[in-house]
């Protein structure tokens, strides 16, 4: 067993750190889109709009039932052959769309469960003051469901950050892609991948801290 090349590792940190904004940016963009889509899907699943409901169920079933890597390949390498409009799509965009669709399916189920967990009295009070279904959802039900769903959703975001590493298979040079290139030049695979692992870990730890603070804020309304 050889000794770790600490100097190489320290030198690599700033190089890979330079790709953190791209990784976080992809994850953030996908998270925002996935949240919006998941809310729509969840509200539909609660409202059970005929015909649309079957499509939504199929969508959720497919994106939960197949690996993210397969979905990304299908989307980036496969779809442009069928739909020439997509031919010019770049890896970053494709990864964001793929992550959005994949994670929205999971998040929709969490949000749906959280919506159904909101007390019936909250629906009735909203209806009684004359709110439309949309107002009732936006103003009363979703904010309360958010408190219940928040821990799970942040977990999905953490998962999503790590999943952005798959964008490297679409030719995107993000944290993982950059590490792979560095390692291929130095042959110090263990050091390089250890550094990137540590950096992902650090990002996730920061997020976990923010998660605890967010939950504290959302619980404010229920604090005695």
């Amino acid at each position: 067993m050889r000794a770790l090349d600490i100097d190489y590792m320290l030198g690599l940190v700033p190089v890979i750190l330079g790709y953190v904004p791209l990784t976080i940016g992809m994850a953030l963009a996908a998270m925002v889109c996935a949240l919006l889509l998941a809310c729509l899907l969840a509200v539909e699943r609660v409202a059970r709009i005929p015909v649309l409901d079957q499509f939504v169920q199929l969508f959720i079933s497919f994106f939960r039932g197949t690996p993210l890597l397969v979905q990304l390949f299908l989307f980036y390498y496969g779809l442009p052959q069928i739909l020439p409009v997509l031919a010019g799509i770049n890896g970053v965009t494709a990864a964001i769309i793929g992550l959005t669709l994949h994670f929205s399916a999971y998040m929709a189920e969490s949000i749906r469960a959280a919506i159904l967990g909101v007390d019936r009295s909250q629906w009735e009070a909203s209806q009684a003051v004359g709110m439309t279904q949309g107002q009732l959802m936006r103003r009363i039900i979703l904010p309360q469901a958010a408190r219940v769903a928040a821990p799970t959703l942040v977990n999905y975001f953490i998962d999503m950050i790590k999943s952005t590493s798959l964008a490297f298979t679409l030719g995107v040079t993000e944290m993982m892609g950059a590490t792979q290139k560095e390692a291929a030049g130095s042959f110090l695979y263990f050091e390089a991948f250890l550094v990137v692992a540590m950096l992902y870990w650090a990002i996730v730890e920061v997020l976990s801290y923010l998660q605890r603070r967010l939950e504290g804020r959302l619980n404010k309304a229920l604090a005695r």
């Binding site: 009295s121 009070a125 209806q127 003051v129 004359g130 107002q135 309304a221």
Partner: protein
């Protein structure tokens, strides 16, 4: 001004409301009394379609809603002409006391925020909870929550206020303050239909008392008649039991 004709509600094979006919004049305060499970609450809940009646026509002013043909827009319009006070308060859990009152003013009635805020401040003062404006429902006592529930309904200025046993879920120590507030609302001649088990209160504030049993109106009249000289055996026996 408000007329109800043939209001009928069934849960499965059970008929809970059996063709209720009722007229309420503007400014009239009507109390409904009767044994549990006779459809009193269901009547209130059918009047704003929290429970959808199988049949019957509800008229409030120029709005007519027929159960046979009721469209979502009509149901919404009906709800916007009524306000509702729930037995279990049902305040918006994610809103402060102040926001519970402004919410519908801003979202539903599209009032400017400043106007809604001023209205909520005035109501909070009136119900004696100005110091709780920023408190969330979970931090308030049952009596305080129900006073805000009533304040929320007052703010709507509805043609008809529906109150579903507003003191039944309260600990005895809070009943007095809620009754006092309802008395003040009644004194303003807010048109109200109130289901209550507080007989003394009904006698005091109601222009008319309705005795219901088995999904039907058995007897109605001024409080003095219903409480002191009931015409129907069933009214008499009910009143003997609750006294």
């Amino acid at each position: 001004m408000i007329s109800i004709r043939g209001l009928t509600k069934r849960f499965g094979a059970t008929t809970v409301l059996d063709g209720i006919d009722l007229d309420i004049a503007a400014g009239e305060r009507v109390a409904i009394i009767g044994p549990s499970g006779t459809g009193k609450s269901t009547l209130l809940r059918c009047l704003n379609y929290l429970d959808r009646p199988e049949a019957g026509v509800i008229r409030i002013g120029d709005l007519t809603v027929d159960a046979a043909t009721a469209k979502p827009a009509q149901i919404l319009a009906l709800r916007r002409r009524t306000s509702f006070v729930f037995q279990n308060y049902s305040l918006f859990a994610n809103k402060t006391a102040h926001q519970n009152i402004t919410e519908a003013l801003i979202t539903v009635q599209r009032k400017p925020r400043a106007e809604a805020d001023a209205r909520a401040d005035a109501i909070l003062r009136e119900i004696g909870l100005a110091d709780k404006a920023g408190a969330y429902p979970a931090a308030l006592s049952g009596g305080q929550q129900q006073r805000i529930g009533i304040g929320r309904a007052m703010a709507l200025d509805a043609a008809l206020m529906l109150l579903d046993e507003p003191t039944s879920a309260l600990d005895p120590e809070w009943v007095g303050e809620v009754l006092d507030l309802m008395r003040r609302v009644a004194e303003r001649r807010q048109t109200m239909l109130i289901v209550t088990h507080e007989m003394q209160f009904a006698r005091e504030i109601a222009d008319r008392v309705i005795f219901m049993e088995g999904g039907r109106i058995v007897e109605q009249g001024p409080p003095s008649q219903i409480f002191d000289a009931p015409q129907d055996k069933r009214t008499e026996s009910f009143l003997r039991r609750v006294r």
